[in-house]
């Protein structure tokens, strides 16, 4: 016999914890997008603001990257979907031994690290370009083309998996029936197999596009001197933490949620139970139609955009600034009374940001003590790595916060946090 009562709740509690892990970080990130504090944080809460969204729209680099990403996404879909479909069909038609080896080849790009794919794509096309003596402007060296090639390598494999799971449910006697009734093999393909695959083509397209949009590991190599949404975002994050990145997250999460809600509504709307419920209730039927749900969500989104454009938090932020000045004033007075020794950092962070007026970000923002940039600074390697890469890719650690700066207590409490 199973003892039900106390053990039955454990799965529920576990699931709740698990989903908290899944959604908690995202929720906190969303909240930080609306805090006027210059550093993305929940507390101390300063002012409710929508300014970070405005900053986003004005970010030309990000917008340009987004444009490139969309272009690449379309290109990847256009190439990867036909390849994935062909691969899945071929797998479904060959004998078991050939299928096993083909499957291993086809699945490999998913397992090979993205870094390796990016690198090999770059080298390969560079070699080909050199071989043909192609000019530097040709596509062999073009970030957009290289990125499409690099991403297609593994996104085709993703879409193949989508197609494969669909084609496994395909009844091959349908094709035989079509042939038997006089269809040519091509007709059987177009009139029987392709319509059957249509839903999978739809979902593979969405998947491929999203995978392309969010890819970083491969793209960071193949994009060369150009940029995508993700690489711009990445350099923004490494350059310094800024709530406008949270604002990006808010937008993406909103779009995702809207998509998910419409998808779920569509499923429910087409379910058998629901069509019985709405059969007699035309109003309810219209209200729950995925189209009308989409319209409502669209209106909400427009409302949110209008609100963001018109919300003004300057009065509040000015007040906060004033308060900070006062606190700092006080602190400085106190400090001059105390011994001039440096206050150990860890005891003070509760006080929050000092240096309130220092908003320009002239010093490197390093709220975690560890400067993101300094990870990549050449000095780090030079100790034992012998030949040092000559230039640092680190987007810029300004001299003020080199390796030594990590340990400086001021860095912990200080300027950067702002």
């Amino acid at each position: 016999m199973k003892i039900k009562s106390p053990t039955a709740v454990i799965p529920g509690i576990y699931l709740a914890l698990f989903f908290a892990y899944l959604f908690g970080p995202l929720i906190i990130m969303v909240i930080t997008a609306f805090n006027s504090s210059n550093f993305p944080r929940v507390s101390p809460w300063e002012c409710f603001t929508t300014d970070w969204f405005g900053k986003l729209v004005a970010d030309d680099k990000l917008i340009e990257g987004l444009g490139n990403s969309l272009l690449i996404g379309v290109g990847v879909v256009a190439v990867a979907i036909p390849i994935g479909l062909a691969a899945a069909i071929m797998l479904s038609q060959v004998g078991p031994r050939l299928r096993a080896s083909l499957y291993t080849i086809f699945i490999a790009p998913i397992l090979v690290p993205g870094v390796v794919i990016g690198l090999s794509t770059l080298i390969f096309w560079d070699r080909i370009g050199t071989f043909f003596n192609a000019p530097y402007e040709s596509f062999f060296y073009d970030g957009t083309f290289l990125t499409i090639f690099g991403q297609v390598t593994f996104i085709a494999a993703y879409s193949m998996l989508v197609f494969l799971s669909r084609i496994q449910r395909f009844d091959t006697t349908l094709t035989e029936a079509a042939l038997d009734m006089g269809a040519t093999p091509t007709q059987a393909f177009v009139k029987v197999l392709l319509p059957f695959m249509a839903p999978a083509i739809g979902s593979a397209t969405v998947l491929a596009f999203l995978a392309s949009l969010e890819n970083y590991n491969t793209t960071v190599f193949t994009i060369v001197s150009s940029s995508t949404f993700t690489t711009v975002l990445s350099s923004k994050v490494r350059y310094g933490l800024d709530p406008s990145i949270s604002a990006v997250a808010v937008i993406i999460i909103s779009i995702t949620l809207i998509g998910a809600i419409i998808y779920e509504c569509r499923n429910r709307y087409h379910s058998k139970g629901w069509s019985l419920v709405v059969a007699e209730r035309p109003v309810l039927k219209v209200a729950t139609h995925p189209g009308s749900v989409a319209a409502v969500l669209g209106l909400l989104a427009i409302g949110a955009v209008l609100f963001i454009q018109n919300h003004d938090s300057s009065a509040c932020t000015a007040q906060i600034l004033e308060d900070k000045r006062a606190i700092q004033q006080k602190l400085m007075e106190q400090q001059s009374l105390d011994t001039p020794a440096v206050t150990p950092a860890p005891t003070t962070p509760k006080l929050g940001p000092l240096g309130g007026e220092d908003t320009g970000g002239t010093s490197a923002p390093s709220p975690f003590g560890g400067n993101a940039g300094s990870i990549f600074s050449p000095e780090n390697l030079s100790g034992s790595a012998g030949s040092t890469p000559s230039t640092s890719d680190a987007p810029t650690s300004p001299p003020s916060s080199g390796v030594g700066g990590i340990f400086a207590p001021e860095n912990l409490t200080g300027s950067g946090a702002n």
């Binding site: 009844d171 006697t173 349908l174 035989e176 029936a177 079509a178 042939l179 038997d180 009734m181 006089g182 269809a183 040519t184 093999p185 007709q187 009139k191 029987v192 319509p195 059957f196």
Partner: protein, 374 residues
């Protein structure tokens, strides 16, 4: 159902000449040799894996024979694809296109031949009328019942206007009642249309009730070809004897054979007298080992003490089937089955020995061979 005016159907004969099909090491069909006359209802009967479906695929063009010829209407079909052959196949699972409406299913053969939409629809409606599903053309396939799907599949095959209709166990998915009904219906359709039907089944009941002739297959080999009665009464191999219908089998030795009558010792203390029949496979010579088959309904409870072929058994158990009583008996360690019509006349008790006999014409002596597994 009437099929008059549904189209013009030519009937063509088919011949298989020394057809072999091999998949690597595995021989699926060996040396199939047969002629099927135009307008005939011909069945391939055999257990699953016996090669009957492979043979059907050779005729429909999905499989090229490794060796040998498939001729339809006297023409060699080598290299002619399934879409170019004058055959229409009804699949085991029917293979109706789930994403198309009933009418679009039926008119598919016309669609791929480039017939315009209006003609297609008209033709589909005619065929729907004929399979007694008028006005159901816009339904989805999934909305039809099993029997209705069956008819749609037939209508779709007829829309091809084939010379030969091939049916691959089309009734196996139906429940018992519907299956029996469809047997009658299929036979009626065949009679009316006059098409050559080639029917694949593992169900001997289907084969026996519908077919003009039957080919019994085992392990890729055609064991016997003949009409239902011949196959049942005069099987030519042990496999056919044990696969078609039920049979008791006794191992024995031939003592004499004069071409009309054999004497066989099966170790039951009685010398069995059995007629030899020209259809019953190769002749047995005195001294040959043999298998003696006696069907459960051929065994009788002996009416007198000194009848021919009499032997003694003991009652073991009884399986009651309503109209029939199947009695299991023991003859010197050998289990035998006796089927009696349940007319209330026989009483068999557990205690006394039961004396059985059978008519010499109903015993079948064959060379020892593989038996069909139960």
């Amino acid at each position: 159902m009437t099929f008059a005016g549904v189209g013009t159907f030519m009937t063509k004969e088919i011949s298989l000449e020394h057809v072999w099909v091999e998949f690597g090491e595995f021989t699926a069909v060996q040396k199939a040799n047969l002629n099927i006359a135009g307008g005939e209802f011909f069945s391939f009967l055999g257990p699953s894996g016996c090669g009957k479906t492979t043979l059907l695929r050779c005729i429909s063009g999905f499989q090229e024979p490794t060796r040998g010829l498939v001729k339809i209407g006297g023409k060699d079909m080598k290299g002619v694809g399934p879409n170019k052959r004058p055959t229409a196949l009804i699949f085991q699972n029917l293979a109706l296109f789930p994403l198309r409406s009933v009418a679009d299913n039926i008119s598919f053969p016309l669609e791929v031949r480039g017939v315009d939409k209006k003609t297609r629809r008209k033709r589909a409606d005619e065929l729907l009328e004929l399979i007694a599903l008028p006005g159901q053309g816009d339904k989805k396939v999934s909305e039809l019942s099993g029997g209705q799907k069956q008819r749609v599949a037939i209508a779709r095959a007829l829309a091809v206007e084939p010379d030969i209709l091939l049916l691959d166990e089309p009734l196996s998915a139906l429940d018992l009642k519907l299956r029996q009904h469809m047997r009658t219906e299929l036979r009626a359709i065949q009679k009316q249309v006059g098409l050559t039907f080639i029917y694949i089944t593992h169900d001997q009941g289907e084969a026996l009730t519908m077919s003009d002739r039957i080919a019994v297959m085992n392990k890729g080999k055609i064991e016997q070809i003949g009409d239902g009665k011949t196959i049942y009464d005069h099987p030519s191999t042990s496999f056919v004897a044990s696969f078609v219908g039920e049979n008791n089998v006794l191992e024995g030795t031939v003592l004499t054979n004069d071409g009309k009558m054999m004497q066989i010792d099966a170790g039951l203390g009685t010398l069995f007298h059995v007629e030899s029949h020209p259809a019953g496979g190769p002749a047995l010579a005195p001294g040959d080992a043999c298998q003696l088959f006696v069907r459960p309904e051929a065994l009788k409870i002996a009416k007198s003490d000194n009848s021919l072929n009499q032997f003694e058994t003991r009652f073991v158990t009884e399986e009651f089937e309503g109209n029939m009583r199947h009695i299991v008996l023991d003859a010197q360690g050998k289990k035998l089955k006796l089927s009696l019509i349940n007319d209330g006349t026989h009483s068999i008790g557990a205690s006394a020995p039961v004396k059985l006999d059978f008519a010499p014409a109903l015993g079948i002596a064959l060379k020892p061979g593989e038996l069909a597994s139960a």
